[in-house]
Every structure is written in structure tokens, then in C-alpha cells.
């Protein structure tokens, strides 16, 4: 047993931990994990960002303390019953590691009625070994780094004639430093702007145990915007991964007032959209939601406090930009020539880089070449218009990079080619797959005759709807929808299980478009997808596969 030491408050440091004190320390740890479970979930990005580290550690600790016998048990019994229950009830990866930590402590306590500094150090050493053994590929920057730091510090301190409290205090301090180091050791943490959730969980456990030993309340965490920022990136990233994400605007802002009713705000914001996150304290909250009407959501929130730091992002573009950013290192880039905001969003949402141009505004070879050079590495260019193919061919000659043109003549062909793109495959494989996919698509364009014409037996007046299939006029009439239907009929000959994609132009009436889609489904048994593409001049562009 170590000699009693006197702390700065005049209270004598606890020389050794008996069964009762250990049970109390475990209970305090369970409470701390429960209180911080959501915060730990929010920063959980490794090994898989499934956001359950806090819940798993908390539930595992809860199982452990429920099994501790009441009244008079020695440290060995307390530690063993907690460890056994944790091993059986361990939930998830982080729960299993925590159960191993408790198991190590129990084996270190074997036969002891109380735990002095040396024994505490031995417990943490064994906890460290047990935790490392359970992980198939131990990594630095995780809970393993933290438990190892705790064990080392406690062992060093125990050599110096210290109390159990001294050794635990040294362990807590070392763990705090280790947690702070985790982003430097594990790049995925740094990218997400977080510390490791499991390591932080272990820190909370040790800190709560120390506070309990000292007869104090564990310090509260999660204060102020700085701390909220820690978990924010991970929490919002998960919101974007949730089913249904991908429509509307990702909206974020900060709300300040003497007292923000965060729960009511959260409930009310659900009226405006989904993926609602409200994180913070009464005086300061950070808000995130996905909504089609960011302004309405913000106006509504003003009733709760002052709004600042507003930020909106188009979700579809955000996801596409992310995909483009995460392009496999050295993998090929796709550059698409597009006209119209809707088409731009469509190609952008699937990770292509876009060059604006098209029917009436062809981009120069130089424009395309610049986009290829900006992308760097291997490149594949989708022309998406017959009149752009030559400029694209010219752009890819004499480059230092490998670049090829997939000579798509239309947006439907370009989309088919982009769908066939797989950044995990080689540039050559992609060029082949994309050419093949594009060639399997027929395209119709519905537009208006620029001058009087005669098609077969029919006279077409200037300004009447006409249908062009793969460059030839095949249909004319008075009604845009009828012409569209005639085009589809012409393209469908001989194909079964057709897929029709209807690209609605800026002049197309949404109700008429839906009616047309319904007709096509019924008349041709086709699967029909409508894209709000917003192209000029053409009420409809139609792809058939």
C-alpha cells in the first residue's frame, strides 16, 4: 500500500481502491458514457463510420455495472463480475474492446481486496494487452493508443511511491494527450476534423473514475461552438449518407439567443425537411437540415434567436462533387460538354466535370483542352452533340495526358456512357465500356420546324413540332406530345423491356410531361424515367435503351 499523499485541496489522496470505490468508479464511468453517447456517436468515423461507438460503449458499460454485487464485495469480485457481464453483453466493436479492458482489469485484480498504485498499473497493462489482442489489425490513433498511454503513465507513476489516485491521475492526463494526438496518427480522423471516438470514450471512463475517487462530479463536456465543431463534420457527413439525401439544399446556420429551445426547434424544423440536426447549448446552437426551401426554414428559426453563418449547398451537386473529389488516385476523369442547368446538374451529380456548350454555343477545342488539363491524369471526353465531336477530337490530340473522346451525339447517349463509367477500371476499359453503352442508345429530339418542309406525304409548317430520330426527321404534327410518341414508336421497333428517358426542356409543361410519361408506359410497356433537364429549344429529348 502506498503512503497517503495530500492533494492541493487539503484532502488526502486515495491510497488504494477497495471494492466499494471500484463499483462507484464503474458506475460513474457508465454515467459519463451515457451522458456523452450522442457526442461520441457523432465523431465515430473509424474503423467504419457507422455512428454507434457511443451507444455501444455506453450499453456495454451499463451491462457491466448491472452485474456488480451490492455490499461488501472486494475489488477482485467487483472487477470480475463487471468484466464477465461486459464480455457477454459487449455490443459492437468498441463495446468488445471496452469489455476486454474490463477483463484486463479483472485479471489484474485477481485475489486482491483493494487496488494500490502498482496493482492499478498492472491492471491497465493487462487491459492494454487484452484490448490489443482482440483487434485483428491494431492501428495507432485509436482506443489502443489511449489505453497504452494510460498503462505506461500509470506504471511510471507507480514506481515513484505513489497512491492509486496519483497513478490514475497520471493515466487520465496521458490519455487526454493521447486522444488529442489521434488525428495525427489516423488520417481519416484528421479529414473529418475529429478525435477518435473510442479513445475519447476511454478517456471519459478514466476521467469519471478519477472524479469518483476524489468524490467529485465528472466535468461536463460539450460546451461552446469549438466543441460542437469537433463532431459537426462527422454528424453532417452521416446525414448526407442517410437514405433520401440527395434532393433539395443542404442548409446550415448558427443560432444565438439567451435561450434556444433546441428540442422544439428540432421538432418544428422537421416540417421543412429532413436530416435535421440541432446541436448545442441553450445560448448557442448549430443547425443543419435538408430542405427544398432554405429561406422558409431560416425565417422560421429567427423566432428562436439570431441567425448567422448561413450556408446552402445544392445536394445533388454536392454529392457529385464529392464523387469527383474522391476519384481514385490516378483513375480517369470524365469531362462532359453540356448545355442547360438541369443537364449540368445531372452530369455533375454523377461526378463528371462539365464544360458548357452544345447546340447553339459550341465550346472551342481550347475550352475542352483546358478542362482536361485541369482534371489532370487520364481523361475521357463526352461530346454529347454531333457538332462538338470534332472540337473534342482536336482537344485530345497532342496532349501530355492520355485522353479519348467518346463521340456521343446526344445527352441520352452521354448519360448512358457516364452510367457505364467505373473509376475503378482502367482508362482503356472505360473507353470501351462507355462507347458500347453509348452505341446502345437511340435518341429522339422534339423541336419546332425552323422553316416549312415536307416529310413524306406531309407538309410541315414553320414552327410546328417535328421529331428527329438519330438525325433524321421521322415525325411531324400539331401536338408536341403526339410527335414525341411517334418518335418513341419509331425507336422501339423490335426492342423488348425498353427503358425510355424523357429529358424535359425548359418549355415543357410538367403536367403534360407526366401525362406523356404515363402514355408511354401504357402504350409501349416501357419503363419511363423523367429528368427535369431544362434544355433550350427542345421541349423533349428522348433516349431509348
Amino acid at each position: 500500500m502506498g503512503h497517503p499523499h495530500t492533494s492541493s485541496t487539503g484532502r488526502q489522496a486515495v491510497a488504494s481502491i477497495d471494492g466499494r470505490a471500484l463499483a462507484q468508479a464503474y458506475a460513474a464511468a457508465a454515467e459519463a458514457l451515457a451522458a456523452n453517447a450522442a457526442a461520441l456517436n457523432a465523431i465515430n468515423v473509424f474503423p467504419v463510420p457507422d455512428g454507434d461507438t457511443g451507444t455501444n460503449m455506453s450499453l456495454t458499460m451499463r451491462e457491466a455495472i448491472a452485474a456488480i454485487p451490492t455490499g461488501g464485495a472486494g475489488a477482485a469480485d467487483v472487477a470480475r463480475s463487471a468484466a464477465d457481464a461486459a464480455l457477454m453483453g459487449a455490443r459492437g466493436n468498441s463495446g468488445v474492446i471496452l469489455s476486454q479492458v474490463l477483463g484486463g482489469i479483472a485479471s489484474g485484480c485477481e485475489g486482491a481486496s483493494d487496488v494500490d498504485a502498482r496493482r492499478l498499473a498492472a491492471c491497465l497493462e493487462r487491459a492494454c494487452t487484452a484490448a490489443c489482442n482482440v483487434v485483428s489489425e491494431p492501428k495507432e490513433g485509436t482506443i489502443l493508443t489511449a489505453i497504452s498511454a494510460a498503462a505506461d503513465a500509470a506504471t511510471a507513476r507507480a514506481r515513484e511511491d505513489a497512491t492509486a489516485e496519483d497513478a490514475l491521475a497520471a493515466a487520465v492526463e496521458a490519455t487526454r494527450d493521447a486522444v488529442a494526438r489521434t488525428p495525427d496518427l489516423l488520417p481519416v480522423l484528421k479529414e473529418a476534423g475529429v478525435v477518435d471516438a473510442g479513445a475519447q470514450g476511454l478517456y471519459l471512463v478514466l476521467e469519471a473514475a478519477l472524479s469518483s475517487l476524489r468524490g467529485e462530479r465528472p466535468p461536463a463536456h460539450a460546451e461552446g461552438l469549438g466543441h460542437i465543431d469537433d463532431g459537426w463534420l462527422a454528424a453532417t457527413a452521416r446525414a448526407h449518407a442517410a437514405p433520401g439525401a440527395g434532393a433539395g439544399f443542404c442548409t446550415e446556420f448558427v443560432l444565438t439567443s439567451p435561450s434556444v429551445d433546441t428540442e422544439r426547434l428540432r421538432d418544428e424544423l422537421h416540417e421543412f425537411g429532413d436530416s435535421v440536426l440541432v446541436v448545442g447549448k441553450e445560448s448557442l446552437a448549430r443547425v443543419h437540415l435538408h430542405t427544398h426551401d432554405p429561406q422558409a426554414a431560416i425565417e422560421h428559426s429567427r423566432a428562436f434567436g439570431d441567425v448567422s453563418r448561413e450556408k446552402f449547398d445544392d445536394l445533388a451537386m454536392q454529392v457529385g462533387a464529392l464523387a469527383a473529389q474522391q476519384r481514385v488516385a490516378g483513375g480517369p476523369a470524365v469531362i462532359a460538354v453540356v448545355a442547360g442547368a438541369g443537364i449540368e446538374r445531372l452530369f455533375g451529380s454523377m461526378g463528371a466535370r462539365v464544360v458548357r456548350g452544345g447546340q447553339t454555343m459550341n465550346p472551342s477545342a481550347g475550352d475542352i483542352r483546358r478542362a482536361i488539363e485541369e482534371a489532370g491524369g487520364d481523361a475521357i471526353v463526352l461530346a454529347n452533340n454531333k457538332n462538338v465531336v470534332l472540337a473534342a477530337e482536336q482537344a485530345v490530340t497532342g496532349l501530355d495526358q492520355r485522353a479519348a473522346v467518346v463521340p456521343t451525339h446526344s445527352v441520352p447517349q452521354g448519360v448512358a456512357a457516364l452510367v457505364a463509367f467505373n473509376s475503378e477500371l482502367s482508362w482503356e476499359q472505360n473507353v470501351d465500356a462507355m462507347r458500347e453503352a453509348a452505341s446502345a442508345v437511340r435518341t429522339a429530339e422534339v423541336t419546332f420546324a425552323a422553316r416549312p418542309a415536307r416529310i413524306g406525304e406531309t407538309d410541315v409548317a414553320e414552327g410546328s413540332p417535328i421529331g428527329i430520330v438519330d438525325g433524321e426527321i421521322v415525325a411531324a404534327g400539331d401536338d408536341v406530345a403526339d410527335v414525341a410518341r411517334d418518335c418513341v414508336r419509331a425507336m422501339l421497333e423490335g426492342s423488348d423491356e425498353p427503358l425510355v428517358t424523357l429529358y424535359a426542356g425548359e418549355d415543357a409543361d410538367p403536367a403534360a410531361t407526366q401525362a406523356l410519361a404515363a402514355t408511354l408506359r401504357e402504350e409501349f410497356g416501357a419503363e419511363v424515367e423523367v429528368i427535369d433537364a431544362g434544355q433550350p429549344h427542345y421541349p423533349y429529348v428522348i433516349g431509348v435503351e
Binding site: V48, V134, S136, A241, G351, A420, T501, I531
Partner: protein, 287 residues
Amino acid sequence: VPVHVVTDTTADIPRDLIDELRITVVPLTVAFGEESFRDGIDINTEEFYERLRTTKVLPTTAQPPPALFQHAYEHLCSTGDVVSVHLSHKLSGTIAAARTAAAEVAPGRIDVVDSASASMGTGLCAIAAARAAAAGASREQCAAAAESVAARMHVLVAFETLEYLRRGGRIGRAQAFVGGLLGVKPILTVKDGEAFPVTRVRSRAKAIDQLFSLCSRFDRVAEVAVLHTTTPDDAQGLAARAREALPGVTVHLGRFGPVLGVHGGPGMLGIAVVEGDPAATSQGSRP
């Protein structure tokens, strides 16, 4: 010494085969918030999908605690050796828990095999080990049988969306297929034990054709499994086509259990094809 085969519930082995081959199945956990269920014990597959339709809390999954494996191993080791076959360590900590328990109970008498796959991709490996065990093979031979099937395993899975896989953190290299305003059906495989993008198609019919194409890719096929989460008709149709194309080859038809259901989502349809073993002779071949 008799050999006992252990696997986990994600292997999706049909009930009758589990009974017939006396395979021990350790459950993973699926949780709706704080409410935990042991897969196949506290909740069955049908109940799970029913609950998934109505739940507001999105479920999460968790590996079995090592102690569960420990109990199973202790029990089985009293009458024989053990071969324990599990899903890829890149997808779950299950196999790490199994290894921990094996080292604790009887190192040297328990072989833990990483199938580097999931669902029946794992299940068919465990089945091969169990068949070898039933034929009186040694522990080493049973483990080798499982590893041989793992090496000849080819898997294709069609998804309605990758959002579930991404949300659960199991997207792997299929990240490249995430996103887009079009209704595309991503098709993935399992490569080096994790999700890997193969292709994207625009319609369900084409997705099913892609899956079926795996049946005609090999000179000889040993065994096939077709699985679904919520589309029994698609699965039956695909299995029927496989049976027609591969006369004499066993084609299992089953359902992804809760754990894979959580990570794949509704509409997930998969096929696992075991290529014929060049060393063996008594296998079905393509006409």
C-alpha cells in the same frame, strides 16, 4: 476426431441445411436504437423486414461478443475439433471476436477461416467444410475445403440504392458509384473482402440479366445461391433461369438476413456462383 463447423448468422444458410449438416450458428446483433435483438433468436428474418418497413429508427448491427464464440467453442471442443467460417474481416469484427475466443479456448484445435465474402458467399464455404466433416475429414481438410470454395467464389449483388451501404460505413471502393440524379442500379462484387463496383445499369431487368450472366462465365459450376431482401419474385425468377442454364447444379434460394438487410436495403438481389473445382470430377457442367 470429429470436426464441428461453426459460422455466424450472416452466412444466410437455409435452416434445413443447418440442421442436416449440424452447423452451429452464432448470432450477430441487430439494434433499433437501444433495443437489441440477437439475429435469429430474438428476431427472425421475416419479423425484421416487417419491422424495417415501419421503423422510424434506422437499425444498426453489431458483431457477436467473443464470449458467445467462447461458449460455443467450449461446448463443441468437448467432443471434437472446430472449423469456424465467417464473413470478411473488412465488413465486420465478427471474425476478430471468433479468433479471440479460439485463442482463449483451444488454440490448435479451432481453425478460423475468413471467407472474404458475405451471406451465402460465406455460407457455401461453411457448407463445404460441414460436408467434408460429415465425410470424416480432418480439421485441416475441412478448413481447406472451405478455403477452396472461398477461392472459387464469385459474387454479384444488385442494389436499388447504395445509401444503406454507405450509411453503414461498408461502401468500400463502391464509393465511386454513390450519387447521381438518375435511377441507376449499381452492381457490386466482393473483392479482397470488401465491396467493389462492377457496373451500373439503368433498369431492374438489366440488373437481373447482369447477375444471371455470372452463371455462364465459367466452364464448370459447382454450386449457386440466389438471395434477396424484399423481392422474392425476382429471386425465384433468377434461380429458375440459373437452374435451367445449369442442369444438375444445386441452386439455393434464400433471403438475406437482418444484418445484411440493414446494410443492403430493400431490393438487394445477389447471386453467388462457385466455380467448378478443377481437382474434382463429380460436378455439374454447362451444356
